[in-house]
């Protein structure tokens, strides 16, 4: 089987998608974009390859899954634990970096030792919590990045300490996280997946003890099945994980896209515009799509495609990125809430406060003023989300309107309030007949389009075959 890779190096996140010869997605990888683009794209690609191995595992166990549905759960858990194992390696790297910074930064020995002591305690506190999250809450499948997870926990722990420690500990953090993040960590897939297997076994062995109070009988029964079946499944799983770990992974071709595409270590002919890729990806999932709206980190694109998925025209924001993903990030910071909470909070709005979306910074000022006037946060957020869509509507109009099926792509498509207002306004402007598509993989559309292009129209012999081999490193 041949595989094809698409990498979308966006302004906020870097995504990778691997497809097979039948255009089916077999692997997805995502990470936060950082100063070192190469590391970001390498990580996204590695993640996609790991994910592909798990989906191949799932495919191999198709029959077992049919016979015993619990199998599917084990694979999800195994991948989650695998991610935790990766996380642990990264955490160790970060630990080394923190220690190094401490030694360089604090010249006074007593302070240094004190800080190192605090760092040890912090780590001791948050590590088991994170493990717990991975084990039981599928932290891995929520696309939370290493940086976000650790900084959240680190902040939590630092805040518990004396105020006077805040500044030195945060300085050490700021100085350490970037170098730790901009270095690519090499993982041994086989080793980590086997470690994950051990953890998984522990989890199921201990299940009755970890049962929370107040859960339903059904849930209890489900746990019992999971626990009981694991013993049978273990052997099968073990054989197969070694098989997938050793499996040769042939990336026959790849395409890089996204705003950082020119910086990708790809040959020129393997670089495609994200406009084409988003459209092609969206069209592949929803073939009747004629209009695509993509809201990414720094730009919004309204794209018209033909029946082949080829772009016929596009419009994008110019000179100002207000109303894009970064705008939401800024607003979340202003409100001191996480980006993921914005949408759900806006969904609780009773009305939409009128907010200007022409400038991100001004919107911040407007937000404070409105809060001061006593407007509810939910209503302000409702207004903000609507404002973003109003801006996007003008781009859609400029690109020629919405036809047939309308597909919404990009990271912002995960925000429920954005989806709500978009649906409302598209229907209002282009009629109730128009079908609005939002795929769970909306954020991966650009990378998917890239992979599809890689399979279609670039010759199979890569100009730089070393690149393809690099994909395979386990």
């Amino acid at each position: 089987m041949k595989y094809y890779l698409g990498i979308d190096l966006g302004s906020t996140t870097s995504k990778a998608v691997i497809i097979d010869e039948n255009d089916q997605i077999v692997g997805r990888g995502i990470t936060n974009t950082r100063a070192n683009y190469k590391v970001a794209s390498d990580i996204a690609r590695d993640e996609a390859v790991y994910n592909a191995r798990f989906s191949i595992l799932k495919k191999k166990l198709e029959k077992e899954i049919q016979a015993r549905p619990a199998f599917e759960r084990y694979i999800v858990d195994l991948e989650s634990m695998f991610q935790y194992e990766q996380f642990k390696v990264r955490l160790d790297k970060l630990g080394e970096e923190l220690l190094k910074t401490c030694k360089e930064y604090f010249t006074d020995e007593a302070t240094r030792d004190e800080m190192i002591g605090h760092l040890r305690n912090i780590r001791k506190e948050f590590k088991p919590k994170i493990k717990q999250d991975y084990l039981y809450n599928d932290l891995g499948s929520r696309n939370q990045f290493f940086r976000d997870i650790v900084s959240e926990k680190y902040n939590e722990e630092v805040n518990k300490l004396d105020m006077s420690l805040f500044e030195p500990l945060m300085t050490v953090w700021d100085k350490s996280i970037s170098p730790a993040e901009n270095e690519r960590v090499q993982f041994d897939f086989k080793e980590l997946v086997n470690k994950a297997m051990v953890e998984l076994k522990k989890k199921y062995d201990n299940l009755p003890d970890t049962k929370a109070e107040g859960v339903s009988v059904n849930f209890d029964a489900e746990l019992n099945i999971l626990k009981g079946e694991f013993e049978h499944a273990e052997e099968t799983l073990r054989t197969h994980i070694n098989e997938i770990a050793e499996m040769e992974f042939n990336i026959s071709n790849m395409t890089g896209t996204g705003y950082g595409r020119a910086l990708l270590p790809f040959p020129q002919e393997c670089i495609r515009s994200e406009i084409l890729c988003h459209a092609f990806g969206a069209h592949a999932i929803f073939p009747n799509t004629r209009t695509v709206l993509d809201i990414g980190g720094q730009d919004t694109k309204a794209i018209q495609v033909d029946k082949y998925g080829l772009v016929t025209s596009f419009q994008m924001n110019d000179r100002c990125a207000a109303g894009c993903g970064r705008y939401l990030g800024y607003i979340a910071d202003e409100m001191s809430i996480s980006l993921n909470e914005l949408g759900p909070m806006a969904m609780k709005a009773d009305k939409e406060v009128n907010i200007c979306s022409t400038c991100t910074v001004f919107a911040g000022a407007e937000l404070r003023e409105l809060t001061n006037l006593g407007e509810k946060r939910e209503d302000i957020l409702g207004g903000l989300h609507k404002a973003i869509i109003m801006r996007a509507m003008s781009l859609i109009a400029r690109s020629g309107g919405a036809f047939n099926e309308f597909t919404f792509t990009g990271g912002v498509a995960r925000n429920p309030a954005i989806v709500k207002y978009l649906t409302e306004l598209v229907r209002e402007n282009y009629g109730d007949q128009i079908k609005i598509n939002i795929d769970a993989d909306s954020i991966f559309m650009g990378a998917l389009g890239g992979a599809l292009f890689a399979r279609r129209n670039i010759s199979a012999t890569l100009p730089n075959s070393k690149q393809a081999k690099n994909v395979e490193q386990d």
Binding site: E274, L276, V311, F314, M316, G400, N457
Partner: protein
């Protein structure tokens, strides 16, 4: 790389044109000593032959502004104009021009430009022109203003009434003021004789522009096109020098075509013509070469453009008429691209796409130009509908470097060219 290599390649006609322009600016700088009178006027609907028939020297503030833009002087001029109250949204040609005057009216070549003796407001399709000259009137108190109103082709036709209306203005307003300023009597025979030269130049210009119909094209009708139209408008149409220049240019183009050579660009000859485009809107002048290079790098060439028709739509058949000099001046003004209504513009572009075998249609929308930007999206959609070629839209500005975002423009153009390429590949596979 040596300095000589870095310099743009120039054809003989380009050198000739450069010399003509240099001579023109030198003459302007000495106008007062030579006792010559100066007329400030606009490119669209210019009355060059009439001006020259009075031995007046024309100055084109638009040309000065774009030249200042190309020579990286416009940013400071615009800043100075904004300092005295011109808003951010005002046409940057205007601000650049005003700023240049505030700074001693030193022209693009470094020579001082003479003050005007007459402000000839040949208003054609752009309201800003009126405001521009109202401001010049204030900057040069006492200088007479002659206003020539060109009726917009609202219905897409030129009626006899409109021609009569314009001829009346020429006879009663423009010519008397020119006589007053120049101290000379209007000489219809001289004007008519000049128009014979105009016709020759115009015939040659059309041949040059239409050479782009061949595949591959020997010329670029937008970036290079602005060079080709240059001398005709900047004071030479109607002179024997203009005829000579166009003859030279036409010879070169024929030679290039015969040898199967592509257009000359500052980066060298375009070796492989990958995309043929029709372009609407003025170019950006502050980053002109960079802008052109993006096209060059992608193997894209402009085979027809509307901006080169701002000073007249000769390719649709108009010629100055030596037998009816004033009437033909009237028709000329009304036929300028910016004076055409939107359906006429769309028909023109549609013909370009078809006749020049274009792969796509691209709009460069100018932030500070209302007369060009109005209707562009409608034009774009209509062209897409009628011709089926992919359309593209980019945004920049005339001479304000703050509005030229290289990364954004490159990103869009790259996407657009890939869109054209992908289309070719996938459609070939279907």
């Amino acid at each position: 790389m040596s300095k000589a290599q870095q310099e743009a390649i120039k054809e003989r006609s380009m050198v000739l044109q450069k010399d003509m322009l240099a001579k023109q600016f030198t003459e302007l700088s000495q106008a007062k000593e030579l006792g010559k009178k100066v007329v400030y006027t606009f490119v669209p609907g210019n009355l060059t032959e009439l001006i020259l028939s009075f031995d007046l020297l024309p100055v084109y503030p638009e040309i000065n502004a774009l030249q200042s833009g190309m020579r990286k002087k416009s940013a400071a001029y615009i800043r100075d104009a904004e300092k005295i109250g011109y808003s951010e949204d005002v046409c940057t040609y205007v601000k650049c021009d005003i700023g240049m005057m505030l700074n001693g009216n030193i022209g693009p070549t470094g020579e001082k430009l003479p003050e005007p003796d007459l402000l000839l407001l040949s208003y054609t399709g752009c309201y800003t022109f009126m405001k521009w000259f109202e401001n010049l009137e204030r900057l040069y108190p006492g200088v007479p203003v002659a206003m020539l109103h060109t009726p917009y082709q609202e219905d897409g036709i030129i009626t006899q009434d409109q021609v009569d209306y314009m001829v009346k203005q020429l006879r009663e307003e423009v010519i008397p003021k020119m006589e007053m300023v120049s101290g000379k009597k209007f000489d219809m025979d001289r004007l008519s004789a000049m128009m014979e030269n105009s016709v020759k130049s115009e015939d040659l210009l059309v041949k040059v522009l239409e050479s782009a119909k061949s595949v591959p094209t020997p010329i670029d009708a937008y970036f290079a096109g602005v060079y080709y139209i240059g001398p005709i408008f900047t004071a030479f149409r109607g002179t024997s020098e203009a005829v000579e220049y166009y003859q030279e240019l036409w010879n070169e183009v024929q030679q290039r075509a015969a040898a199967g050579l592509g257009p000359v660009t500052p980066e060298g000859e375009l070796k492989e013509e990958k995309f043929r485009l029709v372009m609407e809107g003025p170019p950006n002048w502050t980053n002109f070469r960079e802008f052109w290079k993006i096209f060059y790098d992608m193997g894209a060439v402009i085979v027809a453009s509307t901006y080169t028709k701002v000073g007249g739509t000769y390719d649709t058949g108009f010629r100055h008429d030596p037998t009816q000099p004033l009437e033909s001046l009237a028709k000329y003004c009304m036929n300028c691209y910016t004076n055409l209504n939107l359906p006429q513009r769309i028909d023109l572009i549609e013909n370009y796409v078809k006749e020049y075998k274009a792969d796509g249609f691209l709009i460069n929308s100018i932030k500070s130009c209302n007369s060009f930007s109005a209707g562009q999206l409608m034009i774009m959609r209509e062209i897409e509908k009628r011709t089926g070629v992919p359309v593209g839209f980019i945004e920049s500005d005339l001479v304000d470097p703050r509005y030229f975002s290289y990364a954004n423009i490159k990103n869009r153009l790259e996407s657009y060219f890939q869109m054209l390429e992908q289309r070719k590949i996938i459609l070939a596979q279907q």
